[in-house]
């Protein structure tokens, strides 16, 4: 039934949105694994799986946007809101450098937070400069498009000027968070105050034009339809055709515990089965994106490892701490030695990379 799609995959022909929908609707999981692994091997013939030594730092949990899918934020004025003092952030970065070493830009700092009305561009410029001055081995992969749109807004700057100034202050690349599902219809339901599809895409487009790379994500498994998942993937593929600036794609599923959305939307949490299918379709459809990351934080070690047979070629970051999905009840942690074991177990060599996907041997 999908012989024509298999033929396209084999001959390296681009899949249509319609093809993607058919793959989503066809349950045969091993078939998808076979096809996605074929593409993965073609893109990455060397038998390695990469990872990056990195750390997640959530500098503030104060956020006025109140996305219904999020259990991490606290609204402005809440007694549980925090902004980490710079010394605390430096302390956490020092812990990362202690693990990751001194090689320039070898360690990934993933700094993300809520949309905090008190923090304007000068706060970020100062923070980025101080980090760069103290920690030359840090690659700053921080601030999602959603944060950047807001920082520009409250600082009365165009997004482009805002990105330029963040870049000049030391921001190296932009993580793909905040994409959720790139469909305004879905965003109206799950977080109507946050950036629109075109705003999210524009930040990435602009950053790419300014010479920065970024990643793309998708948070699936809530109110969206498979058509909307495909709409999301098509947006990513189209922009990548235009700029070539995305380094990687990462999919994870909505974690419902303690979120507003779970109270009004009673669908089941997406399963590992859905995850494997979703990454496989992404691998097959996003023919112009080099890397697919595992999401072990949401999927746990078993499914994250199995995703290596569904097109995934990178295990992502060692993280060191995670506060956002763990606020929604999902708590997986994994030492580097376990990441390496899981990679070797599928017959590949684990190789450390930097955020630009250059191998660090």
């Amino acid at each position: 039934m999908i012989a024509d799609i298999a033929e396209k995959v084999y001959s390296g022909e681009r899949l249509s949105v319609e093809d993607g929908l058919r793959l989503f609707r066809r349950p045969n999981l091993t078939e998808l694994g076979l096809l996605a692994s074929h593409v993965r091997r073609r893109k990455h013939p060397e038998r390695i799986v990469t990872y990056v030594v990195g750390r997640n730092v959530n500098y503030t949990n104060v956020c006025w946007v109140r996305c219904k899918f999020c259990a991490f934020y606290r609204p402005p004025g809440s007694g549980e809101g925090y902004v980490l003092p710079q010394e605390k952030i430096f302390e956490k970065i020092q812990e990362l450098v202690d693990v990751g070493g001194a090689r320039p830009r070898s360690c990934e700092l993933l700094m993300q937070g809520g949309l905090n009305p008190k923090l304007k561009l000068d706060y970020y410029e100062d923070l980025l400069r101080s980090i760069k001055a103290r920690f030359p081995s840090i690659h700053i992969h921080s601030l999602s498009a959603t944060e950047i749109v807001y920082i520009a807004h409250i600082s009365r700057l165009s997004p482009e000027d805002c990105i330029r100034r963040l870049r000049d202050a030391g921001l190296d690349s932009i993580p793909g968070a905040g994409a959720e599902i790139l469909s305004d219809e879905v965003r109206q339901v799950i977080g109507f105050r946050k950036d629109t599809v075109s705003e999210w895409l524009d930040v990435h487009r602009t950053a790419h034009r300014l010479g920065m790379r970024s990643s793309a994500t998708m948070m699936y498994g809530h109110v969206e339809t498979v058509e909307q998942r495909m709409e999301h993937l098509r947006h990513i593929r189209d922009l990548q055709d235009e700029t070539g600036g995305f380094t990687a794609f990462i999919a994870w599923n909505f974690q419902p515990t303690d979120t507003e959305l779970a109270k009004e939307w009673d669908g089941p949490k997406a399963t590992g089965f859905d995850h494997l299918r979703t990454v496989a379709v992404a691998r097959l459809f996003l023919d112009n994106v080099d890397n697919l990351q595992a999401s072990w934080v949401t999927q746990g070690p078993r499914i994250a490892q199995v995703s290596l047979h569904y097109g995934v070629n990178d295990f992502g970051s060692t993280m060191m701490e995670e506060n956002v999905v763990s606020a929604a009840g999902t708590k997986y942690c994994m030492p580097l030695s376990e990441i390496q074991r899981l990679i070797r177990d599928v017959g590949c060599e684990p190789v450390r990379r930097n955020t630009r996907y250059e191998l660090l041997n």
Partner: protein
């Protein structure tokens, strides 16, 4: 798809499977050693669909572990306590009746009883606990006693195994769960479970049971110190006995959980290992009707995927399974029927509620949630 399969090192095995040729020992080793798990799974799925279509069988069952006292001291077990340990328990026939009554409002069709090797229990005890279950739930099938327990029951019965099995059957035993096989290897046996029946004994008890008309399952515990040669050998010995008796219903690879065992230093199997065992089992055991993914050990997430790697059975709702609960406290040990059916449908398979012997009870795809008693 065909062109893509031709690029794999396993294309010849795929061809054999497609034309129904039995796989050799050498083929089995290659299935364990290849990195091309996607094709192993894809090929196993062809066999699965040929034999069982798209059915995913499940059973509404209750587990009762009648004693945790065990004198076998297997290194891979976190369940047992040695004789005379104060944590030891034995459920009396009355306790067992109370356990069965606890879920009496649910139409459970199978009561599954296995336990430690407790040297203090007399022959009559085993007959009594079968009677106890039958007294409360006469309609349920009783699947009970691993080959290891049967060896012990025979020891206290002091009669031939055949007679013991006939007695047990007369008291309501309807099939055997197939545990205690671990890995058929003298080396592993010596290292991990030397006090227990060895592979010859295990197979011989299974042969006798099949001879008196009791069907059984067969298991293999993987992911500890065994090697691929030993696993292939295990599968081939099961396949040979099945050629002889036809008495095996289901093969169940059991994923080892090292937490709180003497082998805690081992990392344990990965998700890929779990899927590979299902697939290799399906491909090597061409004469076994069913392959089961035991979701308690594999996790429900991996088990959903396993339904596309050769498994056609996902076990059951499993009330009160104790044996890995101690090592897996964070894992839920119960799924309601509606949850289990939903997971099967999500995985694109057709849920089929079965009884002990795979008679179809229901093929409902939507099931009204039912309340379940809180587990004791």
């Amino acid at each position: 798809m065909e062109a893509l399969i031709r690029t794999s090192e396993l294309a010849d095995i795929y061809d054999k499977v497609l034309s129904g040729v039995r796989l050799s020992r050498e083929d089995g080793l290659r299935l364990y050693e290849t990195d091309d798990l996607p094709l192993v799974g894809y090929t196993a799925n062809l066999v699965r669909e040929r034999m069982n279509g798209s059915a995913a069988y499940y059973v509404r069952n209750q587990h009762i572990n009648y004693t945790n006292v065990c004198n076998k001291l297997c290194k891979f077990c976190s369940f047992y306590v040695p004789p005379k340990d104060e944590r030891g328990y034995v459920l009396s026939p009355e306790d067992i009746q109370a356990r069965v009554r606890q879920h009496i409002d649910l139409p459970i069709t199978e009561v599954h009883m296995v336990a430690g090797i407790n040297p203090k229990l007399p022959y009559q005890y085993y007959l009594d606990i079968l009677d106890a279950v039958r007294g409360v739930r006469p309609e349920a099938h009783i699947k009970a006693f691993t080959m290891i327990e049967l060896a012990q029951i025979q020891r206290v019965a002091k009669k031939p195994m055949r007679d013991v099995l006939l007695d047990l059957r007369a008291h309501g035993l309807s099939s055997l769960p197939g545990g205690g096989a671990e890995v058929f290897s003298d080396r592993v046996h010596e290292d991990l479970f030397w006090t227990k029946a060895d592979s010859e004994q295990w197979l011989s008890i299974a042969r006798t049971a099949h001879g008196v008309g009791l069907r059984s399952n067969a298991t293999m515990l993987y992911g500890h110190v065994e090697n691929p040669e030993e696993k292939v050998d295990h599968l081939i010995r099961l396949r040979e006995l099945q050629d002889e008796t036809g008495g095996f219903l289901t093969y169940i690879p059991l994923s080892f959980h090292p937490e709180r065992t003497e082998l805690e230093h081992l990392p344990g199997p990965t998700g890929s290992d779990d899927l590979r065992e299902i697939a290799v089992g399906r491909l090597m055991l061409d004469n076994f009707p069913h392959i089961k993914t035991f979701w308690i050990m594999n996790t429900i997430e991996v088990s959903q995927a396993a339904l596309w790697y050769g498994a056609d059975d996902i076990d059951g709702t499993i009330m009160e399974y104790e044996i890995t609960r101690r090592s897996l406290e964070e894992t839920r040990q119960v799924l309601t029927r509606s949850q289990l059916v939903a997971r099967i449908v999500e995985a694109g398979r057709d849920p089929v509620e079965r009884d002990n012997l795979y008679h179809v009870i229901s093929t409902d795809r939507e099931v009204v949630p039912e309340t379940i008693g809180v587990m004791s």
